[in-house]
Point group: C2
Amino acid sequence: MSSKVSPPSKITIADVAALAGVSRAIASRALSPEDRPVSAEKKARVLAAAEQLGFKPNLIARSLKSRTLNLVAVIVNHIHDFSDLVLFDRLIAAIQDTGKQVVLLRVGSLDRVEEFLRNGVAWHVDAALVFSDFADAASVRTMFRNDRVIMLNGLHDQNAPSIVADEATPIAAAVAHAKARGKTRAVLVTGRQTSPVEQARIAAYRAAFSALGLQLLAEHAGDYSYESGRALSSDVLAEGPEAAIFTTADAMAMGVVDAGRATIASRAGDWAFYGFDALPLARSEAYPISSISYDLDQFIGKVLEFLTTPGLFEDGAGVITIPGNFMPHPSCGGPAAFERWPAEG
Amino acid sequence: MSSKVSPPSKITIADVAALAGVSRAIASRALSPEDRPVSAEKKARVLAAAEQLGFKPNLIARSLKSRTLNLVAVIVNHIHDFSDLVLFDRLIAAIQDTGKQVVLLRVGSLDRVEEFLRNGVAWHVDAALVFSDFADAASVRTMFRNDRVIMLNGLHDQNAPSIVADEATPIAAAVAHAKARGKTRAVLVTGRQTSPVEQARIAAYRAAFSALGLQLLAEHAGDYSYESGRALSSDVLAEGPEAAIFTTADAMAMGVVDAGRATIASRAGDWAFYGFDALPLARSEAYPISSISYDLDQFIGKVLEFLTTPGLFEDGAGVITIPGNFMPHPSCGGPAAFERWPAEG
DNA sequence: CTGTTAGCGCCTTCAC
DNA sequence: GTGAAGGCGCTAACAG
């Protein structure tokens, strides 16, 4: 990999300074990313020496003083949903492209979260991205050395920026789509109800049903998972295809469909299923599910904006909204499966 | 959360020592997780003082001296496959239960991996779990401050332990299963061929075909993804149901099935599909796919054994094998979907 | 067992 | 522009 099999270098800035024939302070300044007072000539000597020695600064030592680790915390309840795959893959890649690394903190099964965070490197991160709703912004802020917390869990806060998708608009579009297909009744399958994002979805659905005159026959509580959809399937399908079936996750809709294939088959084309996340699978022939999603590029772009511009945290920040999309299934008006959905507005 | 809204404590061990009326060294020893020489009485005083002050040690400072961060690196190419969800969720949870935290390093899209690793906290981790095959063990070992590297990518090494699943046995079982169903020919759909794990799978399949007298009609190269399965579908299905279809990922088999549903429907019960990972979806009615997997509990247990017993790294370690399972689809002899597969001797 | 001392590697005053 | 000196917070080494 490297041209010479470098010994796991134990080279300190003192070695560089010695080789360059300058003091450690000069070496430090020359090596600093910022512009510190050094003569051009000595700076060049130091840089050359560092290069020759293969010097790499020790981040731990630097952090002891500078209090910055180039580390970002990503806090999740757990990694569970299909939609997490693409979200975290792209998010981590994007963060790493800025030179930072990511501690992934899974707080779902932890009982003493605060202590856990406080006693690890997590305490020293430059910023924390909070997907979990295990605590409000104020509490979360006390769990890290600095105040740079971004709420991505639907919780808002005076002092922490919050990035959320506008789901009310596509939810209204989905309900309108069902109505256009002649549905006058609806069944709603929900996820983890303690989640603020979920609460907003449920509220938006109820509002849309009411606004467009659909009768909500029943609500069933799942947990976003495929398995929970399977478990609820017979109850959900009990109202027959006259009722449109709305779920807050494609995976749940897939479970409902799979466990109920026999029931559904009899009047195949009549059923209308709606989910969230725009999973490729849900857009395939196997599942007749229309879906709601948001622009992941924009979402990640916003997150990175904060990460790379620490100053933004000072300005009150507030709530940043990412537009959402409603995507009908290809079998009922949507674009062909796997065709890229055009960006809106 | 905390009983009192503690100010983001700036309390050092010196404060604790002062309150307890002992020297900093005594305080340090009393607070150490290890058993260091301190009188019981002073230890109690120190602990009380620390508690009262809400003292939390600064891991960065500690690490500067002790060279241990309580941090584990998990190195992946990317997070992409369905099977990654449960693997990384459970792995991270298990690691965190030992008090350690996890840096997730995604090296798939990085061009200067070595530099990236060297310049971040990753350099200072206590151990590195390598799922990616971006480099051999010797190279990987030079990218971290210590030598505690565990190869989970199928690559072996004299000095690094390697944990792998025995897939040859279940692969032979899968081929035997196909033969018992009357298949005499086979088609193989492969994943990323540069992966050592993949190479082993391919070799095992060829050996099993040859041993049991199945004729391998064609090999198609995918990339484990659902989409790649879709793309290859018509080629894969071209040989008709007389050929059993083996893939190295359930997701690819699912893609093959979905894109080819029209073709398959005509002789529905005759086709035989085989995959890897035992995804719940592949065990559902939607997909007639038999699958191969391994015991995740055992796998994670072994990894943790190394993490919590650093001494094990010294002993040459070698290759640790985890048993694999073949699971026929419920529609052709397997247990009911979602029933727990019994552990094998 | 205890306290003092000396750093870990880096950065940053502060005089020159 | 430069270098000497001190300190970030903690722990290991050394005497007592």
